[in-house]
Symmetry: C2
Subunit: 332 residues, 2 copies
């Protein structure tokens, strides 16, 4: 799956900044690939990129309109479709990480055929997998896990890849979600594989490697999320992680999308992840905590990081503020 | 999905009796629907039905050849395909619970089109689901869980349906696997849904009901199975079970398909299932143990049932030998 660059990031009518996390991640980790953002009336997200529509972006050389907004359920907004059809007619490829396939929308598929453009549905696996074998394989693995969805697992994994490579270690980010795949250029959307193959797809994604090589595997969901815990557990078993990093967003009032569910404590969440991970890797251990403090003031953030580190006895970072060096120190 | 009866049960070259568990279940719970069994050279399974090929079964009035054998990975044996094509040409419909779709085999699809016959892939969901909401819904629910795959969850659920109905209670078996669907006439193969929707599909399968009504939900896999635990956890969360029944096969030397993985103890397995079930139903409780003692002598079986009951303080049954009355007593 090869997606032509540069990108125009389509935000649609995103209901909040978090809904645009796909676009946000691409802008953060691959800024050189982003020509601008395309926002519709009512859009509540802003990437700080120049606003432009398809025509203006085409004049700036953009090749692909990337659907950078994720809804609950993962469907295309009906009002987006004529705009996307128009972009295809203008010469754009489209790429999307939604559950609903671009290819399954008749108007979009027809336009792509007519104009010879490419539709990339990065969330929909383009191959089949075996069931997980649970067999040990060489190489080292780190999996980011979380108290909830959308708490910084991908950012933390990417920051660790960057840090380990800076230190001269062999390390690869392994993408398991739509944004990660758009950033990594490859990967598997594990929440889109057939349920029987969650752990098998994860084993495929992170194959046998040099004994000193680290895979930094992007986690998904949470063992405490009533909608998605099955995916999280299959990923945990398939990853056979030596190291876990617990990710957390401290201002979350309830589990994302589930107003009647509270977040677990970091301690309970670490304990359960370690316990269940040990089915396939008895040495699995949490080596750090990654907290997204973007909604806190500096003093409050500093205090929370220190208190958490003291309480849990683990290096505790905010990847975008403190870096992830103290966690990388634990990865020998 | 309506499958024409009666059935000819196709066992192919099943490597052991367990591989023919789909056919076994249909024969056990719907004997009147089964005209005979169709076995190929090397078949190690036997249902005790009359052996016949498609031609003989057609003369007995059979309408559908049911693929009653399950392989690891769920694919059709290449040697089966010409035989199935021949059966379609003879006038049979085909029904299969394998992952690989009958409709995806060009020769079979072509024969079905040519002869106007129906292909039913019961494992492949024929609708889309929402993500799980985790919201409480009325009605009572029991989920069968297990120490491993293929340890009697479906049998136990069906036996409880039979027992509760005999007692005049409202109760419905809810099928989550291919055999169950062939027996119930409806259901969802939860291991074949897209991973994000495991708990959502389970919520759909067991909707709001009368406060006194029991759903008997067929479990899948095991929280301790390195290949399938994700499915088991999504099912556990979606079921919101009030009652769990732990199913076990005491002669299993290792987890099915995983020679390097031992079975968990009943106690650990009950503890973990209760703990994780309480995310979506804080009242979840194990109310009994169901042991498949078919590989034990009578004295040994009796002793094991009694010892397990004493040790765990729970009614312990073998559905086919003792019935499930002592567990039904706990379902008010």
């Amino acid at each position: 799956m090869q997606i032509e660059r540069p990108y125009l990031l389509f935000l649609g009518d995103a209901r909040d900044q978090l809904a645009a996390k796909t676009a946000d991640g691409i802008r953060q980790w691959r800024p050189d690939w982003c020509v601008g953002q395309w926002r519709l009336a009512g859009c509540k997200a802003d990437l700080g990129l120049k606003d432009m529509d398809a025509r203006a972006a085409r004049d700036k050389g953009a090749k692909t309109v990337v659907i950078g907004v994720a809804n609950r359920g993962g469907v295309l907004g009906p009002s987006w479709i004529p705009l996307l059809v128009e972009a295809v007619a203008m010469g754009f490829d489209l790429a999307s990480g939604l559950h609903q396939s671009l290819k399954a929308v008749p108007e979009i598929a027809a336009a792509a055929r007519k104009h010879g453009r490419k539709l990339s549905d990065v969330r929909i696996p383009d191959r089949e997998f075996d069931v997980g074998s649970g067999a040990k394989r060489p190489g080292k693995r780190l999996l980011t896990v979380g108290t909830d969805c959308s708490v910084g697992k991908m950012y933390t994994s990417l920051a660790l890849e960057q840090e380990l490579r800076k230190r001269g270690k062999k390390a690869d980010f392994r993408a398991t979600g739509q944004t990660g795949i758009l950033i990594a250029g490859s990967g598997v959307s594990v929440d889109a594989v057939v349920a029987d193959f969650i752990s098998g797809a994860t084993e495929w994604l992170s194959p046998a490697n040099d004994p000193e090589h680290w895979d930094l595997i992007e986690g998904q969901g949470s063992l405490f999320h009533a909608s998605y815990a099955g995916v999280s557990l299959g990923l945990l078993h398939g990853a056979q992680a030596d190291a876990l990093v617990m990710c957390h967003e401290p201002t979350r009032k309830h589990m994302r999308g589930l107003p009647h569910y509270k977040l677990p404590s970091l301690k309970d969440c670490i304990q359960l992840n370690e316990q269940l991970a040990r089915l396939t890797n008895p040495a699995a251990k949490c080596v750090g905590v990654s907290i997204n403090t973007s909604h806190l003031g500096k003093a409050e953030a500093d205090r929370l990081l220190k208190e958490t580190a003291d309480q849990l006895g683990l290096p505790t970072v905010d990847p975008l503020k403190t870096g992830v060096g103290s966690i990388a120190d634990r990865l020998s």
